[in-house]
């Protein structure tokens, strides 16, 4: 697909959505607001979540029959890019991609859907587990007789969540259950991340939870929700990279050494161009991948597109934020300068849901499988 295949009216809608999201975040204080929240302990702002909900942000990708705007992942990507530009700590991708992604596929009539879209609460999604060597492992967290036992790791947004959507092993295959924050036998260890946020490590000992869905559909819905979230995280990194580049470009235009702006030196100029090109390639590649995911129903093909997006976005964000520090010189190494926050956020978003090397591997394997099937 090229962007031409999109109707001009769709393009117009996306432009308006981008403008309104940008205005919302800028009025709220841009990246300065994100710094304040980090300094206050690394949480997010529940009022901001409600404001975002009022602007329709959590419902953009949801089908209209589920109370959404039906604008697809392409629109979700627009929102995620704007979140990335101001490194907002609110768990937008968690809500739009993971929790709503699971609920709308498994129990679209559940009352929680409306609450999430209205910004009344946030649900974190617990689906990964940590093995004895510290890396990801096969699931062993059990759900039986209405109770959870075991643990979950890398739960983004665990800190301020009103509850947890947990994917566990039931008596007859996988189940999706809802456990409330503060439930009996639930402990949440918050592991501090580079950007000040926390990644939750959950352990359950007989924690009460209500079953929402079970069977093979849970596995399938989880895979799709993870695809969506992966692609949206890629879009968030694209927005982050763009803004990090803009900040750096402004800096090299104004910082003077040897009586000249350092941006007048050719070596600096060429490095800046390379970052700009990297950024533009990432923006085009990721937007195209998200647009294609909207038209694609085959989960494997969607997974491959999501991997393409995340691989590209992480490659670009790593290069851009790291070179941005170098181009800032010594002040780039301080916490005081804005650019540091972008590097730290990029580290977290890159690792979450798989980095570039991981997604290149998935992408290649999917491509091989497709080739073998033909």
């Amino acid at each position: 697909m090229t962007q031409t295949d999109m109707q001009p009216s769709d393009q117009q809608d996306l432009r308006m959505l981008r403008e309104s999201a940008r205005t919302l975040f800028e009025r709220a204080g841009g990246s300065g607001r994100s710094r304040k929240l980090r300094d206050a302990g690394g949480g997010w702002d529940a009022d901001m979540i409600r404001e975002m909900a009022e602007a329709g942000i959590f419902g953009v990708t949801l089908p209209e029959e589920n109370g959404g705007l039906g604008m697809g992942l392409a629109a979700g990507g627009v929102i995620a890019e704007e979140v990335g530009r101001v490194i907002a700590p609110e768990p937008v991708v968690v809500t739009v991609g993971l929790s709503l992604g699971l609920l709308r596929r498994l129990c679209p009539d559940h009352a929680m859907m409306e609450q999430l879209v209205e910004g009344a609460t946030v649900l974190a999604v617990a689906w990964q587990e940590r093995g004895p060597n510290g890396g990801p492992a096969e699931p062993s967290c059990r759900y039986a007789d209405g109770k959870l036992t075991g643990g979950k790791a890398w739960v983004a947004g665990a800190g301020g969540a009103g509850g947890f959507l947990v994917v566990a092993e039931g008596d007859a295959g996988p189940v999706l259950v809802l456990a409330e924050a503060g439930a009996d036998g639930l402990s949440v260890e918050e592991r501090r991340q580079a950007d000040g946020s926390a990644m939750g490590e959950l352990s359950f000992s007989g924690t009460p939870a209500g079953e929402l869905a079970s069977g093979g559909a849970v596995r399938a819905a989880l895979a799709e929700a993870v695809n969506d979230a992966t692609a949206l995280a890629a879009a968030e990194l694209v927005g982050l990279s763009e803004r990090a580049f803009e900040i750096t470009l402004d800096y090299i235009k104004t910082r003077e050494q040897f009586d000249k702006p350092i941006g007048s030196f050719q070596v600096i100029q060429h490095r800046a161009v390379d970052l700009n090109v990297m950024c533009e390639v990432a923006q085009s590649g990721v937007r195209e991948a998200l647009g294609l995911m909207d038209r694609q129903t085959d989960p494997k093909a969607r997974a491959r597109l999501a991997s393409r997006a995340k691989a590209r976005a992480v490659t670009a964000a790593k290069k851009i934020t790291r070179d941005a520090i170098q181009l800032h010189g010594a002040v780039g190494y301080t916490d005081e300068f804005e650019i540091a926050l972008y590097l730290n956020r990029a580290l977290v978003l890159s690792a979450w849901l798989g980095d570039d090397a991981y997604h290149r591997r998935l992408w290649f394997e999917a491509r091989e499988e497709e080739g073998a099937a033909q």
């Binding site: 031409t4 700009n276 390639v281 590649g285 991948a289």
Partner: protein, 383 residues
């Protein structure tokens, strides 16, 4: 006359594809070298008979009159089927120059001869002291009665040894405050005592580039195109549309296809390091194609491309080089072997691809020059 622009994109693509697939000689597909005219004359005759030699020219001059969207489709199909561009300097450069700046007499005389390939053109821009700094050119033309007399030297003149005419930038005023001034566009015949052509052997052993020496060579004053001393501005005006094609994805895409079949045959994919590097290259090509579409869409909407289009060339040529370097790695101990290497039932000329990729970052404005342009015109960096 057919109004191609009135067709739907899909119908037009089908028409072009159908013609190439049915008529283009199989043995000329994806030629690894630049052919002399005699080698592709047969195909040129077919194209000429169909009226398809000059897709971008207005119909009144014998072109197809394609708009940007249709033109892009034409070139995409040409690349897809591995159709050689032929000796197209006349069509790509001289024709547009004359159509835009030439007199009625020049149009009547030269344009039909370009279409029929009665005249075959080469481009005389670069000189030993004027490469990236093209405005530094020294070859001079002085008036003598009804003629210009030309003295100096051109270099990197592609296929000059198989051309009948040269279009060239020459200095017609030695005493201008800026070196971009005092440059004019001249057309000149090659077959005369004052013109000597020597081929340059490249590091791959090819001889498609030449040096051209002018020693009191003559051309009629009527062969000045446009205003005297205004050649630089005209040359820049000619470049605007071509800049997207130099950044088109096809070279890298074709090389990636070759790399894949070669690497598969050689078992290189068993190595996880190679797999990752292949995946990187393949994703670099895919995401470049997405960026290319963005610029192509701009053209299709009738917008003019900005200086930012240069980023396509930077990315794709460097990507093309990495792919051909991976091919050499996959060849292992055969990495220095000249000629096709057989793997299963495919032949891959690893070195030919490698060599072909090297000059892409040098020609058409070296990638360093492109970075200079982007840094000033797009990023607004000072100095």
């Amino acid at each position: 006359m057919t109004d191609w622009n009135a067709m739907s994109d899909a119908d037009f693509r089908k028409e072009v594809r159908g013609f190439f697939e049915a008529e283009y000689p199989e043995d000329l597909r994806n030629l690894p070298h630049r052919p002399k005219f005699a080698e592709i004359e047969h195909w040129h005759r077919k194209l000429h008979a169909k009226g398809w030699v000059a897709p971008a020219w207005p119909a009144e001059y014998g072109g197809m009159g394609l708009n940007a969207a249709k033109l892009l489709i034409y070139y995409e199909e040409q690349q897809r089927w591995g159709v050689n561009r032929g000796r197209d300097m006349g069509v790509q450069m001289v024709g547009p120059l004359i159509i835009k700046f030439g007199t009625q007499e020049q149009k009547d005389y030269w344009l039909p001869r370009i279409l029929s390939c009665e005249d075959i053109w080469c481009q005389g821009y670069s000189e030993p002291g004027a490469g990236s700094d093209l405005a530094n050119l020294r070859t001079r033309a002085e008036t003598d009665g009804d003629d210009f007399v030309i003295n100096g030297q051109k270099i990197w003149t592609t296929m000059a040894h198989d051309a009948t005419h040269i279009f060239m930038l020459v200095r017609t005023d030695q005493a201008t405050p800026k070196k971009q001034q005092g440059i004019s566009f001249l057309l000149a015949p090659m077959d005369q005592p004052g013109v000597e052509v020597r081929t340059i052997t490249t590091l791959s052993g090819e001889t498609e580039f030449c040096e051209v020496f002018f020693d009191d060579a003559r051309t009629p004053r009527a062969n000045l195109v446009g205003e005297l001393n205004k050649g630089w501005t005209m040359a820049k005006a000619l470049l605007s549309f071509e800049r997207i094609f130099i950044g088109a994805p096809n070279l890298a895409q074709n090389a990636l296809g070759q790399l894949e079949s070669f690497a598969r045959g050689r078992g290189a994919f068993e190595d996880p390091v190679f797999r990752d590097r292949f995946a990187q290259a393949a994703l670099d090509v895919e995401d470049h194609a997405a960026l290319y579409s963005r610029f192509a869409d701009q053209l299709k909407r009738g917008e003019t491309l900005g200086a930012d289009v240069s980023m396509l060339k930077i990315w794709v040529t460097e990507c093309f080089q990495r792919i051909t370097e991976l091919m050499i790695e996959a060849a292992g101990p055969d990495g220095g072997t000249v000629g096709p290497l057989q793997v299963g039932n495919v032949n891959v000329d690893v070195l030919a691809s490698f060599y072909k990729a090297r000059p892409t970052t040098i020609y058409g404005g070296s990638n360093e020059i492109q970075r200079n342009i982007l840094s000033k015109a797009v990023l607004g960096l000072p100095g």
